[in-house]
Amino acid sequence: MAIIEHKTAPGHEAEPHEHAEHEHLGFWRQYVFSTDHKVIGIQYAVTGLLFLFFGFCLVMLMRWQLAFPGRALPWIGKLFGEARMPGGSMLPEFYNELGAMHGTIMVFLGVVPLAVGGFGNFVLPLQIGAPDMAFPRINMASYWSYFLGGITMLASFFVPGGAAQSGWTSYAPLSIIAGQGQTMWLFGMIFLITSSLLGSINFIVTTVQLRAPGLTFFRLPFFVWAQLVTSFLLLLAFPPLEAAGVMQLMDRLAGSSFFMPSGLVVSGQAAAYTGGGNPLLWQHLFWFLAHPEVYVLILPAFGIVAEVIANNTRKPLWGYKLMVYALWFLGFMSFVVWAHHMFFTGMGTTMAAFFQTTTMIISIPSVVLLSSLLISLWGGSIRFTTPMLFALAFLPMFGIGGLTGLPLGLSAADIPLHDTYYVIGHFHYVVAPGTLFALFAGIYYWFPKATGRRMSERLGKLHFWPSLIFINGIFMPMFIQGLAGVSRRLYDGGASYDFAKEVIHWNVFMSVSAWCLAISQIPFIINFFRSIKHGEKVGDNPWEATTLEWAAPSPPPHGNFATAPEAYRGPYDYSVPGHPTDFTPQFLAAQQAT
């Protein structure tokens, strides 16, 4: 345990007693089956990071095939056996497996568990001055449900036929006739959705009910608002996918035809289904979740970036209230835009017009959020710490991602772009140099709170700059290829198409960038592990921040605060005129403030 400095700030007085109270919990109850939100948050974060790494490895394999189609991959290729990489050369089925599982793992096992399960769980109760989540045991259940879902997904690689290979989108009828791996994908999703539901209920009740005295809704840190709206999206959008998953299981296991159309012929033979079903129903129910899901991917990132920017500009956020309203409007609208993923399903002009319009409308709150964060920099005293570097990079990266989404959301402009590499470029920009960068910012920012030690700034910069360069190297050329008409999910990356000749060389550039991006993560990995034991020790508030989590010790004991903190002001009272320091924490009582 780190040595904790005893100060007069709240949260310190009774620490030794807190430790004594919990000595009787064995190793398993304290570190494995814990109900403490901080332990659970770290479990989610570590598991999420491991899955992110694994998902990255899957795509690095794919990028070999894309750069050098058909070429044997030296040494590593042999590891995958004759069924997947005969002679070290990738089979198309394996490419599809990698693609489907890369998407599934990154979205459902990597980013969201880290962003929501990890950061949400660890930071939210601390930021609202609560001792823990409202339902600690349900919190533990939600982590283990996620864990089981992850194991199921990993196990699916080992069943005959391999893992799911119908895209992370699992469109029918292909997914219905696919091998066993798809069934495991469906069961894995059921575990993950359960985990998500339990988690979102916990977050909402906690935020509403467990706020410290004085912490009114409009004194909440923006991070908390972002997690709250995210939780509502998860709560209401996931169940239809669960229903669809059940129906897909019925089609696959009970032979029903929810998604199987009449008269389907597979490889020259009539499919053994009575038909009468509708493949579009799957798409509707899938995208009903998957569109709000992209906001689940970005909102926590916005939350983290907001906290880091306010702290490192020594200024309040610009347009805080406007940003909160934008969050809710975005959340509400996100439920009625989903069919912009389905413009090519034969929809008529009225339906297309409706979904284009709602999609254009939803870009407004996104722009409000991004602009407010940008304007927040104006006149700030910027500290270029590692978290701030990542947060600053997030802004233009998300800008590119968001802007490239606009032609996709207009049904006519979508015609040449749908299912091309342009789409892959667009969504990776928002999630990779977008969300992932924000998550890195969060790790560097809250690492001291979680461990009582700083991460190295030098290694942090060594992580940031190459990552920024190489991540753009991977995704920027995708727009070029997409505009040239190169389709996504092509096993050879477009090499067999004449029209792609001019742009095919980018595949090598992108693949090399991907492998260099991987190497750029080494400083981070070293920094992360080294700092846990050897990082510079810090007190409660190393960043001189204003929000409630910085009132607790670093790391906080079980129960977080010995006495419940109170909020006396808004969340971002930086550089208040007349105040001796350039920050006035929320938890500092009025008389201590002068």
Binding site: L236, A237, A339, M347, M351
Partner: protein
């Protein structure tokens, strides 16, 4: 004070019995209407109206929704709008296909 609370509960219990009888009656009415083999649109409308009344009674009285707090109403309001979206918007695929 205790008496007042008890009296409240007594009143509620009486309400529950009345609602129960109403629900039984409405159940039999629903089945009776279905025996008439009305044209589809009318049959569907009537069935849904009766079901909504029954559902409203269960939600309002058994689930105490009629005297719930604002927060719960807001959550349910948001939910109902999402429910309507998932129920109705996919139908558009059928009713507004691409035309040559």
């Amino acid at each position: 004070m205790a008496n007042h609370a008890e009296h409240d509960i007594d009143r509620q219990v009486r309400t529950y019995i009345v609602i129960f009888i109403t629900l039984m009656a409405l159940t039999f009415i629903t089945v009776a209407i279905s025996r008439l083999h009305l044209p589809v649109h009318l049959a569907v409308t009537l069935a849904l109206v009766v079901a909504s009344v029954k559902g409203g009674l269960v939600a309002g009285y058994f689930m105490h929704l009629i005297s719930e707090r604002k927060l719960i109403y807001w959550v349910l309001g948001f939910t109902v709008s999402c429910f309507i979206a998932v129920l109705l918007l996919p139908l558009w695929s059928h009713f507004d296909p691409i035309r040559n």
